[in-house]
Symmetry: C2
Subunit: 293 residues, 2 copies
């Protein structure tokens, strides 16, 4: 019988741990962690993400500020604002919600954020430090997945792991994290992507499969061996006549047919998703203590 | 019949190309590239490496300076020297020969070098930029291997590639480079290491095998499929009664038994080794033009 990896539950536990730490900081008269989110324009999905982050901050006792800038803001105005926050000791962590309008270079924005406040872990210096095992802020989704595996005491050392999808913020950093020589690493990782001709051959031999492609129900039962651990990072909104909204979220895994073959599997929603914001909170707490991950 | 990948020959070709470019720069009255190598102490191997780099600079027409510091130099003195060179417009590229004495933090040294002069590509910002596909200086050995494969027109897109060894300066960055979505990337890479239990199973299915473990003759014929491309990064000095010096260099590949199964294979010496210095020269030329890779 497979076990569901309950990301929502783990995320709630960790939020409580963070809230306890914040209460302790408050009691000792220390600095309350402060996260600033910059939101450019009025994209619906971005609004939702930022408001989730704000609520999570509230829940654990952080201060949070949302800075709204018009869609028409110039690149220089945005970069100036980031520079201002870089120098503001009151601000511990800073995120710029992506995507940005086409006239603004994400590249420049990411590299302008002070790496010490880059709690999203997107700055090249944080990625590079992670690669070579220096202290760093690890980006939220990969860090959340590692935390989930750890909390469920899933052994990864010496295991074969197939990561499907090579995005800069999930698949690629995750493939590195899992293979590093660290106390929680040492997996043998194969990074698959759109140009991999034999994904089924590879995934069907893996002890751990992590799918982060954004293709609804991509991973089917024939691609998974008995007893595998399956982590689903995908979220695709599809029409549904069974929900009030008329929509439902599905992952990259055909859950109903894959789950019976697994030892552990994450659901969508309620698996990896809730862990992402928790990683952001953890990074912000560390930033406020001037620690690196 | 297998084909030898002649790294020495390719390296000579590229040195000639660089020398032609330098001659052109000179003719136009432009700035001659200038590489500075800092050498701490008097380690024999380090002396040899640095003097090879100096000779290579001479050969292509670069200026090169070796700055020697005593074994007893303090960390701060070394960092101050690096900071001085960071601000010296006359210096385009800077390397600090590793390893350093135990009382000096390699970590701090690497992060003190201005990333724009970090022609070794060891600074986290250069590694991170490489990971996410921003322009960067790629470290010498991985860049040299990619260049070798390119010059021999070996297709890597869609191929399965096993990298054995996960060092920060070879295996790990190379695994990322080969799998990226770029004009010369798109391989499906499995990164194997000391904790991989089934290297033979994995390597014997790979189209391309890159061995960078530092274990003499580790890769044997049973670990290689017919027609594979084998790249040998290892160099171990072993006793020999057939050479004048009483020593010879062997790679991580049991060449005599593996070569007959290969389509292409690099020898040791004369394979990957000569390419490493060439990558350093290429990075220095780019740095002098204020370009990134």
């Amino acid at each position: 019988m497979y076990q569901i990896i309950d990301g929502k539950n783990v995320a709630n536990q960790i939020k409580q741990e963070i809230a306890d730490e914040v209460a302790d900081i408050k009691k000792k008269g220390g600095k309350i962690p402060h996260l600033v989110a910059i939101l450019v324009g009025t994209d619906g999905a971005s609004e939702t993400y930022v408001s989730h982050k704000e609520k999570a901050c509230e829940r654990v006792g952080f201060r949070s500020t949302i800075v709204r800038m018009k869609e028409s803001v110039t690149e220089n105005e945005l970069l100036d604002k980031i520079a201002e926050f870089n120098h503001d000791d009151d601000i511990d962590g800073m995120i710029v919600q992506l995507p940005l309008p086409d006239h603004i270079s994400e590249h420049k924005v990411i590299e302008t954020i002070n790496p010490k406040k880059d709690v999203d872990g997107f700055h090249p210096v944080n990625i590079g430090r992670m690669v070579i095992g220096f202290p760093s802020y690890v980006s939220a989704t990969p860090a959340g997945i590692v935390e989930l595996l750890k909390r469920y005491k899933i052994e990864i050392s010496g295991k074969s792991c197939v990561v499907i999808g090579r995005s800069n913020i999930v698949g690629t950093p995750l493939s590195i994290l899992l293979s590093r020589k660290t106390s929680y690493g040492n997996a043998t990782v194969t990074l698959c992507h759109s140009r991999t001709p034999n994904i089924t051959e590879l995934s069907s031999k893996a002890d751990i499969i992590i799918v982060a492609m954004g293709k609804a129900r991509f991973l089917t039962a024939d691609m998974v061996k008995e007893g595998a651990v399956v982590i689903d990072v995908g979220t695709t909104r599809i029409k549904s006549d069974k929900t009030k909204s008329g929509w439902k979220l599905v992952g990259d895994v055909a859950f109903d047919e894959v789950a019976p073959k697994c030892s552990y599997i994450t659901p969508v929603p309620g698996g990896v998703g809730p862990m992402t914001i928790v990683s952001l909170l953890k990074n912000t707490l560390k930033a406020s203590r001037k620690e690196k991950n």
